[in-house]
Symmetry: C2
Subunit: 381 residues, 2 copies
Amino acid sequence: MASKRLVVDVHTHLYLPRYASLLRQRTALPKIITRTGIDGQNEERLVILKDEPSGGRPIGRSYVERDEKLKFMKKHGIDISIVSTANPWLDFLHPKEAHELALQLNDDLEEYCATGPSVSGTSMRQLYGFGLLPIVPKISIESLLEAVRQIFASPHLRGIIMGTRGIGKGLDDQMLDPVWSAISEAGLTVFLHPHYGIPKEAWGEKNNGHVLPLALGFPMETTIATTRLILSGVFDRFPSLRLFLAHSGGALPQLSSRLASCIDHDPVVASRLKHDARFYLGKLYLDAVCYGPEELGFVSDVLARASRYDTGSKDVVSGGRSMGSERLLFGTDHPFFPPLSTSEKWKSVVENLDAIDNVQGWTEADKDGVKGGNAISLFNL
Amino acid sequence: MASKRLVVDVHTHLYLPRYASLLRQRTALPKIITRTGIDGQNEERLVILKDEPSGGRPIGRSYVERDEKLKFMKKHGIDISIVSTANPWLDFLHPKEAHELALQLNDDLEEYCATGPSVSGTSMRQLYGFGLLPIVPKISIESLLEAVRQIFASPHLRGIIMGTRGIGKGLDDQMLDPVWSAISEAGLTVFLHPHYGIPKEAWGEKNNGHVLPLALGFPMETTIATTRLILSGVFDRFPSLRLFLAHSGGALPQLSSRLASCIDHDPVVASRLKHDARFYLGKLYLDAVCYGPEELGFVSDVLARASRYDTGSKDVVSGGRSMGSERLLFGTDHPFFPPLSTSEKWKSVVENLDAIDNVQGWTEADKDGVKGGNAISLFNL
């Protein structure tokens, strides 16, 4: 069972060359600018949002070049990466442009993966991908379905990365039901990833760099989008939908019993859903990108306890922490969070691997599953 | 040690009669309105924010009358309550009004507690309180310090309830340093409580009642305010400051390792603080109002692990889950979250007590501590 020991990175980003070129040509945000860095050399910076702290993020070859991704993987002992375009995806484009570019980028990504190396001694490749939908305001649902079909037909694309805005009204928009239906039937996994955070008034006037929007805003955005999905009944209507959340589900696990209580106490929603809110958390997949063993053990508990809240079953015994581990998958968030000083391995990666190794109550098999085996099963590698 | 078995509710609100009268007289928000309820009877509703869902919250005698508080306590086996004015406190008043009303309400609350019943067989009273500061824009720091001195001199007031806006720029405003200093020296505990949530655009267009702002917005507000306090260095400058967070710290425990990682990777803040972000969580006190045993066990772990991140110490061994329990304190959030149907006991209260009883790894002594003993120590009852 050699495959059990493989390390699979499910949260790892890129900008395909076609996409990076587009960002370089743009005059409006988002765009890639070139400026003189502190070492006197030219450096590219990606500016995504208005008033971005620190003049945007440094963006180097590791964002675009496949060889850099493979080098990073080798250095950190990662056998397989399931790569995805980083935010802001296609959110800023008109529907026609978004439609065309989505199809082109999905083809580009399929080729990026298909022409990459294999995992030696196996039939697996080292690179797989999440495709893109042109999910922007005023897009036709048929256009979204066309991209779902394209991704399904692309042998190395195993899911779809998606932001939280939908076609302008969020993911709890009933207009999207045909999309959830098609994705479910195709057996594709939706990787829900934040981009906008929450309105920046929340962060105050002090200069804290990117810390507040990244550390808090990102996971809060994911938490809100997922909660709205739960409240909209999407998981009751599409029980086989596979939703995979970035950053270990953000704050949703810690707020889930409060959520259940607030639903129970509000006449507007108390009778709407088939199950207690905590049941739906057990249907989620979460990456293991939370940087601490206590956090990871906790989300494992929350996934495992979900069966206690299945309204349709009697005498359900909650699974232990091991059971929850089956829905957790290692990730790095590469090429974001590069080390501030040169180092052999990236601290952000080492911390996420250490977190897995140090979860109390997980067996070695559980840890191997989180590092790779669960991804191999979920994405049918 | 009879006192060890007492149940103390540290998160329980009221509107003092003077405050309720003011809200009834107001024409602008926040205000209490009277309308005809579904049973044809007049009912009062508190409307705090613009576009409040469901026309505001029902507000009955339990918000104002001391006998109702004592009846609630008796029904649920609560021996002592440390009551606090519910949001929106004095946020909507001009400085002069806020100053005068704060001092009056602190006197009212002292009398409310002092003239209440005792806990039989002890020297303790059944009611203690958190006072108010007139912490509004343009208030003088001296006015805030005067209220701190008044609260310190009031025998039954043992802390201060506070929102997150400070004097207009949040709690990370360096102008507040003399206030933190005075509070620390007085040994008073600050009960940090949310009110504004996050901007409502986040919630989308669907009618989900109060669920999203209450279940997510409230804890997110607390999380952001506390993180901003940590980043501002308040805990480095005032290491003995006692900060007590509503709703078990919101999402901060689950996001704390991510926060530490984001700080580590951002040149703007990487060298600012004396310790890893997770160290400061160990200085917090949290209520046990999170409705689930897994959540409660997890926050206990996060409090216990904080000593691992003490930069100044060598070979620090992280405490176990029991150690974290010492900084957790039972609360009910009464009179919010009343049951939708008549019932003997309030589900919201029963769930929080059950959560304590079902935390894995806590001893009976730990559970008794969370239910009451920790509050008796912290507030020196």
